[in-house]
Symmetry: C2
C-alpha cells in the first residue's frame, strides 16, 4: 500500500483564555490535520501540533514519505532520526517539532489507512486493546473571563464550580488541575477545596509546570500527602525533581523533564520521577508509546497520558493507543472539553462516565469533515498566529508579566 500523497492542513481552533505557569492561551490554538493518500484508495488521517514549524517539517518530509509502503515505516523513523545526520541534511527539523513528532503524524495517518484497508481498528494493529473504554480526567484550569461559558476561574471556589460542571457534563472520575498560576499556598487551598467537595474517591492531580522551587515543592508535597494521586512537574529538571522525590510522600509525574526516550536513563538513575506522561504526538507515535509502556514497566515507572489543546482526531488516536498500552493505568489528560470546534463528522466525541469507548469502525474510527476542515483552515489563514506563545498573550493584559520557573 504505497503512499501517493501527504497533505498537511493547518487549522486554528477556538481556545478559551486558560492560564498556566507559562501565561495565557491565545484565542486560537493551532493544529495540523495530516492526510496520506494511498494507491489502494484509502486515505489515512492524523492530527498533530500546529503552526509554521510542523507545516515546514511535513512539507520537507513529503518526498521521503511519498512512494513508501504504509506498512513499512520503521525505516522512515530511522531516516528521520536526528542523531544520524548532520543538521543541514535534516530540513524537516523544526524548533518545537522534532523528528519523533514528525514521524508520529505520519505513522498515525498510515495506521489509520491500514486499519481502513484491513477493516480493523488501529488498536488492533498495536496488539489489541486491553480495555474497551478509556477513562479520562477533567482538566481543570484557572482562567480569565472570555468569550466562553465558563467565566473567570481564579479562586478555589470558582475551580470547584468548574470541576462540578465538568463532572456533571462528562462524568469525569479524576480531576487534574493546571497549577503554577496562583500563589502556591492558594493552589494548596484549591486542591483541599476539591477534596472537600468531591471526597477521597475522586483522584486529584496538580501540575504547576515547574514553577516552584525545590523547597516549595517539597513542602507542598508533604502538605498534600493523602490528597493528591500524583504531583506533576512541581520543579524544573531531573535533579530538582530528584530532590523533591527523595522526600515527597506523593508520587511525582512528569511531562517536562522526561519527554523523549533519551531522557529516561538519567531519570531512572536519579529516581527523579515515578510516573511518565506518555503522548503519542511527542514520543514518536503509537508504536513508540506501546514501547514506552513496556520500558516504564520494566523500570518500575507508572504511565499516564499528557494532552495539548486538540480535536477529535487526536482524541481518537489517544483512545486507541491508551487501549493498547496495559501500563497506562491512570485516567488520561485531555483538553478536549475546552474545544468547541471539530473537524470530524458527527460532531464531538462523547464521554460516558468520564470515559471514551474505543471508536468502533476501522482505522481511528473517525471521518474528516471537509467543510469543517476548510472553515478552520480559513480561520488559520485569517489569523497571524503561527506558533504558540502564552507569554506574549499574557503580556497583552500584563506587560510586566514573566513566568515563574522554579522560583516560586
Amino acid at each position: 500500500m504505497r503512499v501517493t500523497d501527504l497533505r498537511a492542513t493547518p487549522v486554528a481552533i477556538a481556545d478559551p483564555p486558560l492560564r498556566s505557569a507559562f501565561g495565557l492561551h491565545a484565542p486560537f490554538a493551532l493544529r495540523t490535520i495530516v492526510e496520506v493518500d494511498t494507491d489502494e484508495g484509502v486515505v489515512g488521517v492524523a492530527e498533530t501540533y500546529g503552526g509554521d514549524a510542523p507545516l515546514r517539517a511535513l512539507d520537507a518530509a513529503r518526498a521521503l514519505v511519498i512512494g513508501r509502503d504504509a506498512y513499512r515505516l520503521t525505516p522512515l523513523r530511522v531516516e528521520l532520526d536526528a542523531a544520524r545526520r548532520p543538521a543541514e541534511e535534516r530540513p524537516w527539523e523544526a524548533r518545537g517539532f522534532a523528528a519523533p513528532a514528525l514521524f508520529s503524524a505520519i505513522e498515525v495517518a498510515c495506521l489509520d489507512a491500514i486499519g481502513r484497508q484491513t477493516g480493523r481498528p488501529v488498536c488492533d494493529l498495536l496488539g489489541g486493546r486491553v480495555r474497551d473504554e478509556i477513562p479520562f480526567s477533567a482538566y481543570l484550569f484557572f482562567k480569565h473571563a472570555g468569550d466562553d461559558e465558563w467565566g473567570e476561574v481564579m479562586s478555589a471556589e470558582a475551580l470547584v464550580g468548574e470541576a462540578r460542571q465538568m463532572r456533571e457534563r462528562y462524568g469525569f472520575g479524576s480531576l487534574k488541575v493546571k497549577g503554577g498560576v496562583l500563589e502556591p499556598d492558594r493552589e494548596v487551598a484549591a486542591m483541599r477545596a476539591l477534596r472537600e467537595a468531591f471526597g477521597p474517591s475522586v483522584p486529584l492531580r496538580l501540575d504547576p509546570n515547574a514553577a516552584w522551587s525545590v523547597a516549595t515543592s517539597t513542602r507542598i508535597a508533604e502538605e498534600l500527602a493523602g490528597t493528591l494521586e500524583y504531583l506533576e512537574d512541581p520543579t524544573p529538571g531531573l535533579d530538582g525533581m530528584a530532590k523533591v522525590a527523595e522526600r515527597s510522600p506523593i508520587p511525582l509525574a512528569t511531562n517536562m523533564c522526561v519527554t523523549a526516550f533519551e531522557h529516561l536513563p538519567a531519570a531512572v538513575a536519579k529516581r527523579s520521577v515515578s510516573i511518565v506522561l506518555s503522548d503519542h504526538h511527542m514520543w514518536g507515535g503509537m508504536r513508540a508509546t506501546v514501547e514506552l509502556g513496556r520500558l516504564c514497566r520494566v523500570f518500575g515507572l507508572g504511565v499516564s497520558m499528557h494532552s495539548n489543546s486538540h480535536l477529535g482526531i487526536s482524541l481518537a488516536a489517544m483512545t486507541h493507543v491508551a487501549a493498547a498500552v496495559p501500563e497506562l493505568t491512570y485516567a488520561c489528560d485531555t483538553h478536549y472539553p475546552w474545544q468547541t470546534d471539530e473537524v470530524i463528522t458527527g460532531g464531538k466525541l462523547r464521554f460516558h462516565d468520564g470515559a471514551l469507548p474505543v471508536p468502533p469502525g476501522p482505522g481511528l474510527g473517525v471521518e474528516l469533515d471537509r467543510d469543517a476542515l476548510a472553515r478552520l483552515h480559513e480561520r488559520y489563514r485569517g489569523t497571524d498566529l503561527r506558533y504558540r506563545d502564552d507569554v506574549a498573550e499574557m503580556r497583552k493584559t500584563d506587560p510586566d508579566w514573566r513566568p515563574h520557573v522554579g522560583d516560586w
Copy 2:
C-alpha cells in the same frame, strides 16, 4: 479473525553431538510446531522449544486462546503474566517454559495468520523491515564424532576446518564459537587460529556459557582484545559479569544473565553487559523483541540474536523479527546448518553470502510440510527424550562429568 483451534505437535530432529559447557547434545533436539486455525480459513504456524513442558503449557493455555481475536493478543499476554496470579492459577507455567515463551509461540502463529490473511509478510506487521537480508554468523561447535559429515572437532585445527567448511557452504561473514568446552587457554588458541586463518575482516565471538571464573574471564578478555567482536557470558551472574566488564577491553554480551525484561534494570545499574542477545522465543515474542530493541537503544546496549537448535519456521520468524529491529546490528546466531531435518516445504532455507533474505510471500513466508511433520512427530513418539539434558547425555560417555560453572 477468531482462533478456532490451537495445535501443538512435538517433533524430534536429528542433532549432531555438539559440545558446550553444559555437556553434549543428545542425538535428537526437541521442538514443538504450533498451529492456530482461524475462522477465516487461514492457519498460522510457529515453532518453539520442545518436550513435555511446552506441550503441557500449550495444552493448558488452549482454552485461553480459542475464541480470541488473533489481532488482540496483548490481553492474553497480560493474562499469562506470571506476576499477576498465584501459581495454582497458572497451569500453563512449566519449568523452562515461562509465560513469555508460551505467549511468543501463540503470537508468532497469530502474526503468521494475520500476514496470510492480509497478504503481508510478518515483518510488515511489526513496522516494516529496515533490511532485506539478515546476516547470520556461523555457529561453530566443538563436537564429538557422530553420525554426521563433520567428524570430531576437539582442537583449534579442527575448528578452523569446520569454520572453513561453514564459510564455503553458507558464506558466513562472522564466526561464533560455543566455548566453555576446552581448557580456557586452548580456546584462546582456537580463537587466535581462527583470526589467523580468516583475518580481521571476519568478526569472531566466543561464548563459554559462564564456565569461567571472573579472574579467567578478565585475563582472557585482555588476551583476546582486538581479536573478539564480543565475549558472551564468560562468567555467571550480573555481579560477576560486571566485575569482568569493568576491566574488559572487549564488549560483553549475554544470553544467560539477562534473559527477560525484568533482568534489565539491574544489568543497566551494574553495567554488567554491553550487548543483549535477543530471542523472540524466549523474550515474549516478536513485538516484545522490537520493544527490547528500543529499550536497549535507549539504555545504550547493543542487540544481537541468540539461537537454539531449530527448524525453518523458527528461522523464518527470526529473519522477520531481525528485519524489523533497527538495533539488531550484529550477525544473528543460528544452529540451522547443524540440522538436517526440516518441516517446511521446499527443503531448507538457503543462506546467500551468510545472509537470509526475508522470505517473500505473506506471513512468515514458509509452508508446513505435513508429511515431514508427521515423520518427525513419529520420531518424537519413538524416543524417550522429553526434555533437553546435555549433562545426562555427556555422562553416557563420561560418567564423572560435571559442568564448569564459573570455576574454570
